[in-house]
Symmetry: C2
Subunit: 527 residues, 2 copies
């Protein structure tokens, strides 16, 4: 045993090995087990995520190939993510890459390298302070907990080789390059930074070895031992999960609704209006300003997310169109959120939003959003009290990640009163091309007005954060709401520009094409 590594790797440096005969007899039944478990998993409402990482990178790859070989490849998807820190200009949070690749219920995903490798590698090359690394590990731990609470079975393997063996193996590779072609530059790099790297790995493993997502450290010197250890652990954990009784229902959460008179929504002044005379010119100015900001934001590679929630018929659609019209069409996407598809239901409820986050320079506008979890899903009972009760924190975490990656999150709640809503429903019923917007459900929802208002109050109270505050706007006067929306979006984008480029951001962005063309025309005349 190597004294240097007497820490968590001690048990993985004792020369564990399995002889061929024991191996051959063991794997026959193990392969049947794995296949049967995999088929049982197919009908379940959870997925299996297997993370394969390690200082023995070729060993992790060989382990992945073994799983492909031993299980039914059609239901496994493999994500090779050893060196995924080069996503240039991608302003989305790092976790985005993993979220977007999560399997649907019943399936298996392998992640090679994955988030722990990213964290350790980045800490090493950027020379992070421990505090910085811990911040990242903290997010990753929350990510894993969210998946686990949603039902995902998450197994993490670290394949470890003692330093002498790394040395010996790479020496062999140098002497027989055409037999060791599966080694890559990274494998030499790992050896180069072995001691420092392993210290970081140990820290990372200690920090992220939770009940939700336990680590298994596997000595990787002997490939039979490696394969057997990994596969046995997967079979054992998957069987345990499949045999587990469904948890007894969590205790009903008491509603967090406000006391009478304390509902935040009642503080919105619905009498605010804008005069007919004032509107057109002000509207034109605000759209022109927003367009200028959109160009600057694209130049500065700032992505942004806008969320619209509100009472039915509060005018979300019309307001959204006024915002999106001011953004170049290639930089803006409006995403109407309806009931999840079958594919979406087979994933964590946040998955469909993670997948649609904007890349650098773009704006995504959600017409309804992840807040459905604590609004319609709460009121209609589509989520259990335990699920929606937990969601407030999950949503705050999600938006914190967006904010930390430099992505403004701008949230609007549009409020109208019940009389105005009825007026609008009746108007819809009389406008032939608006009838389709009106369903029986709308009237049913009216009966639940109080429940929805309570849910909205809790949402505003619990998810209005310093980094992503709610803007609760009165919308009895649609025009007032539109102007305020344009103004708020503009202000937030401008604040981000100042943060990124400084106060004189305007001087740094290229002139609009019309101004440029004018200048070109003038200089032509002179010349």
């Amino acid at each position: 045993m190597n004294e240097q590594n007497s820490g968590i790797f001690a048990a993985a440096e004792i020369g564990n090995a399995v002889d061929k005969a024991s191996y051959d007899s063991a794997i026959d039944s193990l392969r049947v087990d794995l296949l049967n478990l995999q088929f049982d998993l197919k009908d379940q409402d959870f997925s299996l995520v297997i993370l394969l990482a390690g200082d023995d990178r070729p060993g992790a790859i060989a382990a992945a190939r073994i799983l492909h070989d031993w299980m039914d490849e059609r239901h496994i998807q493999t994500n090779v993510m050893f060196d995924d820190d080069g996503a240039n200009g991608d302003k989305r949070p790092v976790l985005h890459r993993y979220w977007a690749r999560l399997p649907r219920d019943g399936l298996i995903s392998l992640f090679l390298g994955g988030w722990p490798t990213w964290a350790v590698h980045t800490a090493l090359v950027r020379d992070w302070e421990e505090l910085e690394l811990d911040g990242v590990l903290d997010h990753m731990e929350r990510f894993e907990r969210e998946l686990a609470l949603d039902g995902t079975l998450l197994l993490k393997f670290w394949f470890h080789l003692p330093k002498e063996q790394h040395l010996k193996r790479l020496k062999d590779a140098e002497d027989n390059p055409d037999r060791y072609w599966h080694f890559e530059q990274r494998d030499w790099d790992i050896l180069e930074n072995y001691d420092k790297g392993l210290g970081l790995v140990e820290h990372m493993i200690r920090k992220t070895n939770s009940v939700h997502a336990p680590w298994t450290i596997v000595e990787s010197s002997d490939e039979r031992y490696r394969n057997l250890t990994m596969a046995t652990q997967i079979a054992r954990m998957l069987r345990a999960r499949l045999e587990q009784k469904p948890a007894t229902a969590a205790p009903e959460r008491t509603s967090m609704s406000a006391l009478p008179g304390q509902n935040l929504l009642e503080q919105i002044d619905l009498s605010l209006t804008v005069s007919e005379g004032e509107y057109p010119e002000r509207f034109r100015q605000l759209q022109a300003r927003l367009n200028e900001l959109a160009r600057a934001v694209e130049f500065a590679n700032i992505a942004s997310v806008i969320v619209f929630e509100g009472v039915d018929a509060a005018g979300k659609g019309g307001t959204i169109r006024r915002v999106s019209a001011a953004i170049p069409i290639q930089n803006v996407r409006v995403i109407p959120i309806a009931a999840p598809t079958e594919e979406e239901r087979a994933h964590h409820y946040l998955w469909r939003f993670w997948r649609r986050l904007p890349a650098g320079g773009d704006m995504v506008i959600f017409d309804r959003s992840w807040y459905g979890r604590v609004l319609v899903e709460r009121v209609e009972g589509f989520a259990t009290p335990e699920q929606w009760g937990r969601a407030y924190e999950e949503l705050n975490d999600f938006e914190a990640l967006l904010d930390q990656s430099g992505m403004p999150v701008i949230k609007f709640w549009l409020q109208i009163d019940q009389e105005e809503q009825l007026r609008r429903f009746e108007a819809r019923a009389q406008t032939p091309y608006k009838k389709y917007k009106l369903t029986d459900e709308d009237f049913r929802n009216r009966e639940k007005w109080t429940h929805y208002q309570e849910a909205a109050h809790d949402m505003l109270a619990r998810t209005s954060t310093s980094y992503a505050p709610w803007h609760a706007l009165p919308a009895n006067d649609k025009k007032y709401a539109r102007l305020r929306t344009l103004e708020i979006v503009g202000d937030r984008l401008e604040a981000q520009l100042v943060a990124n480029l400084g106060k004189n951001w305007r001087k740094q962005i290229p002139q609009g094409p019309a101004k440029q063309a004018k200048k070109a025309r003038k200089s032509k005349k002179k010349g």
Copy 2:
């Protein structure tokens, strides 16, 4: 009327306009029509693709916004593709971008700009000869025909403005930059190249104005006229399509099976074997060579596609694993093709393959492939004789596009005889972890042996092209088939390297990491 443009644009330069009162009264019922038609479409087994292009780019965008406004946005997806020729390093055929974005049955996709804009723009900036442009237009015309034959309703609009109006509008923009912020540099570029560009557009429109995908040229000077013309045409064409009786069944195609004794498969010499002694070393050499080629291919940004088809139990899986093991795991993807998912069935049968084409430097291996159309779908009757009969040409076209974009297409048919197949089925039945591979279907398929062999013969005869020939390999001896596969894949990749980098390609690629490490170690010792 401007004499210069007395061609196909003549009718779109006469100052068509609609007054506000007529417009307002017309759109009320038109919007109801569009919504109803859109809802009717939702249950159909075809999709609607609307292409919006034009020299009036802002007009095309405004038209798209109108469609979003007038129809139910939740069932429309919009693809903004004005300047999509900058996909750096993407070796996939240009059409890939459009194929991958086609809507599923029942839905509507808008393409802004799209393939016609790409063709004209590229012809202009690269100064193409007419012949070159015609080659591209020919592919686009086939693309449109394939979609139409598959049921897609494809409507194409060209929004046209006379030159004087372009001039006037851009002059206005230069004088009032903050009112014309929706104009972009491209709009000035369009005017700059107006005459030459319009000549190319006219040529393009004439060439691609087919029954399958007719063009509608819309004068764009008056926005009411523009909106009304477009929306009326969409409503009319969609209604006509919805009311259309299903076509009477096409006449049964006579089978193209060979006369007795003439089946190509019978010419495969199944007695070929490799000796036990020879195999291991030869295998090692071929994998090492393939790995070297894979590195070179990545360096040269060459993507490749490998297709495996063959008799059940011919050993496709095992052969594929021997190929993929030699490629760095991040550069290779094995895609097992099973029955299409619900999502895939709601698209053209080639859609799922287009989406999975490799980007530069990567290899995708299909375990079964698009040839299912003329094998299992033909034999089991999942495709009509008209559909599979048409497919041979479609598949040849598809592979021609891949070949022309520099992507090797390497196709293997693995053949075993009926006795060997039975032996393998029985062996599977006795190996516990292989049982799952064996289903009743396998035995049923044995009864259709002759039908499958006929279909395979026709496939080999009709789709073995100079650019993508079939390699029909005897696989009674698995080892023989594996060695030949490794050899053929290597040869084809090497040929592509020679074509791209010249005969001395080896000198241009960086050394493998083991050799580099060795060199570094030596120079360290010396220093």
